[in-house]
């Protein structure tokens, strides 16, 4: 296999693998930047996957080709509402944010499976008839060399994810709203004295994370799993959380981390066909993302510094 062919096998796989992780990791960035730890990303993805699949199954006949797109929007809305549980518990009631995030994870899976059994009378749904399909992106796929590598037979959702990452970076770092959101996560009391509604900002941030988590979950379900069962989302939410940390709580960093995870995963699968990699046991490439995240946390790869007030409930008037 030549170098070009290798790239041509690796990149499309890395792209579709990363897309759900990018969306969800961006959600994690928003939530944690505002000072609310979101262990519940996994649960939000489950919710998104469940809603995306159910909506798709129900409306595939009426909406036709547009079904998956509408489905991911609906999944975003429902997951944003679902994340309110986490927001209420963690922000208003000042519950332990890790505990309430874990509760989200349990609740989403339990609820999803319970409703699947109620509505479809079995442990898993049927496969959707209108999933996302890969396409050649017009114009761009005609570019020599780069075209076939990046724009042939890819999922549009992968590029939506990258676009979202750039938008998220712009919002967080270039707008007043973003500044307020970050200040609430760094020093909520200072923000409060400046007239920023700390609770309001945090609520908004958690709901954005819910929407993006739901988006990630539904994109995963509609491109990769195609149905909903107990095994649809297993660990992708935690991978995204790892991407948030590995990306140092920065939207573009999180995107890079997610893309890197996809790349490592893809490489571990392709490696058997690549001369110099064939001798490396695939397991090393498979565990690479986790090892790197631990190294990042341990401070070996630059300093991974969390927002200062991350995980600390804000109590108005306390010093």
């Amino acid at each position: 296999m030549g170098f070009f062919e290798i790239l041509q096998s690796i990149i499309p796989i890395a792209l579709f693998y990363s897309a759900p992780l990018i969306f969800t990791a961006l959600g994690g960035v928003f939530s944690e930047r505002s000072g609310v730890i979101n262990i519940g990303l996994e649960g939000l993805m489950v919710m998104g996957a469940f809603v995306g699949i159910v909506f798709n199954l129900t409306f595939a006949d009426t909406l036709g080709k547009a079904t998956p797109w509408v489905a991911i929007v609906v999944a975003m809305v429902v997951s944003a509402l679902f994340s309110l549980i986490h927001a209420v518990a963690a922000i208003s009631f000042r519950a332990d944010q890790t505990v309430s995030g874990v509760a989200i994870n349990f609740l989403a899976l339990g609820l999803g499976l319970f409703l699947t059994k109620q509505w479809y009378g079995k442990g898993q749904t049927d496969m959707v008839s209108q999933p996302f399909y890969s396409t050649n992106i017009p114009v761009l796929s005609d570019i020599p060399i780069l075209g076939p590598l990046f724009f042939e037979r890819v999922y549009v959702t992968s590029y939506v994810a990258i676009l979202f990452a750039v938008i998220a970076w712009y919002i967080l770092y270039k707008t007043p709203f973003g500044l307020r959101l970050r200040s609430v996560g760094e020093h909520p009391m200072a923000a409060d004295t400046n007239g920023i509604n700390v609770y309001g900002m945090r609520y908004i941030a958690v709901m954005i994370s819910g929407a993006l988590g739901g988006l990630g979950g539904s994109v995963f379900a509609l491109t990769i799993a195609l149905n909903f069962s107990h095994a649809t989302i297993v660990g992708q939410g935690f991978m995204s959380l790892a991407a948030v940390i590995f990306g140092k709580w920065h939207p573009l960093g999180a995107m890079g981390a997610a893309l890197f995870f996809g790349f490592a995963q893809s490489l571990s699968i392709i490696s058997s066909g690549i001369p110099f990699l064939a001798d490396v046991p695939a397991i090393y490439l498979t565990i690479a993302p986790y090892v790197l995240t631990i190294l990042a946390l341990a401070g070996f790869i630059g300093r991974a510094e969390a927002p200062k007030a991350n995980g600390i409930p804000y109590i108005k008037g306390s010093r």
Binding site: Q8, A89, F114, P131, Y133, R153, I224, L226, N227, T286
Partner: protein
């Protein structure tokens, strides 16, 4: 104040949990009874005429794993087997046969014990997940007979129901070899180990029996629940020219189907096929008017469950034995739902090999060593 609020939250959560779980059991009860009347009705008309023997007084129960009794897979198949047994022996749900559904892993032990306490003579544990629980309960209740599906429990009162998956894999391997045009086929496994090795060895042997020059690519996903990895592996295999993939990887296989359908969507003339596993995966392969599922390797849990129940009713319960259901017992089969792809010509050759396995002409390998010897014997 802070503490009070937290307590309030906790109470609310518990209350919600209570309400939800209360809904759960009652609704499920309804479902179950609906279902059994449905099935009872149809089975009754089918078998009603034969139903002349006297109702036997045996009580047979089963405990599902977390998939539930209507999972379209092992649990459902097992329950269908019990129902078939019941209608032949004049029994019905609640009158001789019954099932208990497990909501979580921790339910296995209490569910098994519950059936024992209700004086069931034979209690099935469906799925390897129940093996430890069956082992424990069987030890505590030496007078009750147990059966475990898809696993082995060593005890005098436990019958272990296993399948000769390598035989079925051999047959779908034959089908794959006849279907491939590129002379390249692929095998996607869940987690490498003794069990999935049987699938792999049988499949390779089947392929090579038809045409030793066909290349078989084998890759494991290291998980039964990673559709993303399954899709990536399938993408890589199809890219490299493989046109038939046999997956034996549970939920990971969803990704294989997703990739095959994606290729088919981009190019309706693309020549890509998937072979399903455990049950008929025809529905998973549907895309528009076509279907990428060539065939599926079927494990007939229903046949196995029914056979063992009948043996118990006849007073010949195979306690302490390891039963290996294969082609001979009709415990393993090959799906022929996709008539367009799985043509009569293919079926004819598959049936020939089935005969050869039955009359002992072909002994299907189930391990790497056996496969090696088998392939060497082919070369001669």
């Amino acid at each position: 104040m802070k503490k009070n609020r937290f307590l309030l939250l906790l109470t609310l959560l518990l209350a919600v949990g209570l309400v939800l779980s209360a809904c759960g059991s009652s609704e499920e009860g309804d479902n179950a009874s609906d279902k059994s009347t449905d099935n009872g009705g149809t089975e009754g008309t089918d078998e009603g005429t034969e139903n002349t023997e006297e109702a036997s007084d045996i009580k047979v129960g089963m405990v599902t794993d977390i998939g539930g009794v209507d999972d379209k897979s092992f649990n459902q198949s097992a329950w269908e087997g019990l129902q078939a047994f019941a209608s032949e022996n004049g029994l019905s749900k609640g009158q001789g046969i019954d099932y208990v559904q497990s909501e979580k892993d921790a339910d296995y032990l209490p569910n098994l014990t519950r059936l024992v306490q209700q004086d069931y003579d034979v209690v099935y544990g469906i799925g390897y997940l129940l093996a430890p629980a069956v082992e424990k309960v069987a030890e505590q209740n030496p007078d009750t007979n147990f059966a475990i599906v898809d696993s082995v429990v060593e005890a005098d009162n436990v019958a272990s129901i296993t399948f000769q998956e390598h035989q079925g894999s051999f047959l779908v391997g034959v089908a794959a070899a006849l279907k491939t045009e590129s002379k390249k086929v692929g095998f996607v496994g869940g987690v490498e180990g003794e069990l999935i090795k049987k699938f792999e060895a049988g499949f390779i042997a089947g392929v090579k029996s038809v045409d030793p020059s066909i290349d078989v690519t084998v890759q494991y996903a290291d998980s039964f629940g990673a559709p993303d990895k399954g899709k990536a592996i399938a993408a890589n295999m199809y890219n490299s020219g493989v046109d038939v993939i046999y997956h034996s990887s549970g939920g990971t296989g969803n990704g294989v189907f997703a990739q095959a359908k994606d290729i088919k969507n981009a190019n309706p003339d693309a020549y890509v096929w998937v072979i399903g596993v455990d049950r008929d995966q025809y529905e998973e392969g549907a895309i528009g008017d076509t279907n990428v599922t060539l065939t599926s390797m079927l494990k007939r849990v229903d046949v196995a469950v029914k056979t063992v129940a009948q043996q118990a009713a006849d007073g010949e319960f195979p306690g302490g034995e390891i039963l290996a259901f294969g082609i001979k017992e009709d415990g393993i089969g090959v799906a022929d739902t996709n008539k367009e792809a799985y043509t009569d010509e293919i079926d004819k050759v598959v049936q020939e090999y089935k005969e050869k396995i039955l009359n002992g002409e072909v002994t299907v390998p189930s391990t790497d060593e056996e496969l090696k010897t088998y392939l060497e014997s082919l070369e001669q």
